[in-house]
Subunit: 158 residues, 4 copies
């Protein structure tokens, strides 16, 4: 039987960042994921390790749905906190799908791959919030904490 | 709090078919979707109308998760029974993602787009079950009903 | 200085087929490639071995331009008869580019990958000519020789 | 008959930048394109207007081959200086192909789309030379003129 939470589609936030990260960044991304789920959103990430895993862990442990848009062919590549793995086989081109499918994007730390996702999201006129990530990219809204990032994202989602 | 059904990942079946179809095919695809959800699977489709909508309707109304891998840029393109829309912006190349992300593929009727998905799924060595679809493609397992199709898919998923 | 043959764009024919093949099919694909170049066309293939290599060899040795739309990341994957390698990194999704960029498609033998390209080309309403390839696909024009295939393609290019 | 310039593959430089630009940037990109062709290279661009058109014009008028990796479905979208149009139908995801297929990338001016291409090229460890483009992206080599940009690119191509 249909359940109420399917009636209206949830808002979607993509969390982007590097595939490996230190403990502080991991904790930050996990907090971002948890807040997204607690506010009722669906989380999208690139489905692998580091920031992607941390955000998925936070969201899944708070009862949320976590989508992983994977670069490879196998659903098994997904970290164990991804509930909906999508195997694209498109390698870096999957970054574009992560940006396109979101109502807002939150970047946590990250390197060139993250920069390319930030740029695509800005080109698509999506709200982009950054925590400890690329500085000096016009259009990125800087946040100092997980809570500030998620709150700003929610304000900006139409 | 985390719910039990997230602990282990569900099996995934993609249902493919044309974006518009007659009432009989619609009913057939709806039945396929419902059975997938009732057996505990996640449904993936291309997210648009016709067979994709019918399968999503069946699965969603049975309480299932329905992923729509859309060809365009906007989540709003998804039919109203898609719970997780993924906007790829890749047009036909999204067919490949539909095939890659599935444990098995069920084709219901369909034309050239469906044929391309069948071929890609076979190339990827996925089980492909067909109902009233392309005949004479070696490797497609023919089913006479929704129930037979879903049962055959489940048997073939490793 | 600009040369005359750049003034107007050449017609483009994509030759599709398996990445490995026997001697007879190789000879047939080589002949198709040579005829395309001799008639003044640009050849597109998937850039790898078998039918793709044979067609590229025929076209290049007749002085033609041969474009290879590669599945991987490295231009070095291209066979040595590809003059313009394009590294997509998209794996099978590059098949769609091979079909989209052509004025007509000639399939020589081939398996599931070829079938997916045939289907996409037909969906895009491109003329598709087949030699010793998938039978019984409505819309594929059957040719008995390389010459017949190229002549039919040229007639059908608007 | 085969011509000598096909024997060994040419080096490839991609020129990236916005689809519309002012006269100064147009002249700069045209000069970059001309130098690439004069030094014996193949030019790749995104195939549309602005910087892409200017570079293609410069290269084609110097006798070079100009490849246009188009976002849409139709070869007719290519500017008239593209000799080899490739219709990807992948929209922004085609940016990744532009970066992947090059031995080096030269960015001329540009906005978010260009930034995403710069980031992808850096991630792929390609040399990236920038003229009047995004500042403060670590890894981008700044050039003050078309000549300096092309010379630096040639030095860095292995």
């Amino acid at each position: 039987m249909p359940t109420t939470h399917h009636k209206e589609r949830k808002f979607v936030i993509s969390v982007i960042g590097a595939g490996s990260c230190d403990k502080d960044i991991y904790g930050l991304a996990e907090e971002v994921g948890r807040l997204i789920a607690q506010k009722g959103g669906t989380l999208i990430t690139g489905g692998l390790g580091g920031v992607m895993e941390a955000a998925s862990k936070g969201a899944k442990e708070a009862g949320g749905i976590t989508v992983g848009i994977l670069p490879g062919f196998s659903k098994e590549d997904a970290n164990s906190f991804v509930t909906i793995p999508v195997a694209t086989g498109l390698s870096h081109a999957r970054n574009i799908i992560v940006a396109r499918s979101a109502d807002a994007v939150i970047a946590v730390s990250g390197e060139y791959g993250t920069l390319s996702e930030i740029a695509i999201a800005l080109k698509l006129a999506k709200p982009v919030i950054g925590i400890k990530t690329w500085e000096n990219i016009e259009g990125v809204i800087k946040a100092g904490s997980a809570e500030e990032a998620v709150n700003r994202a929610l304000q900006l989602i139409k």
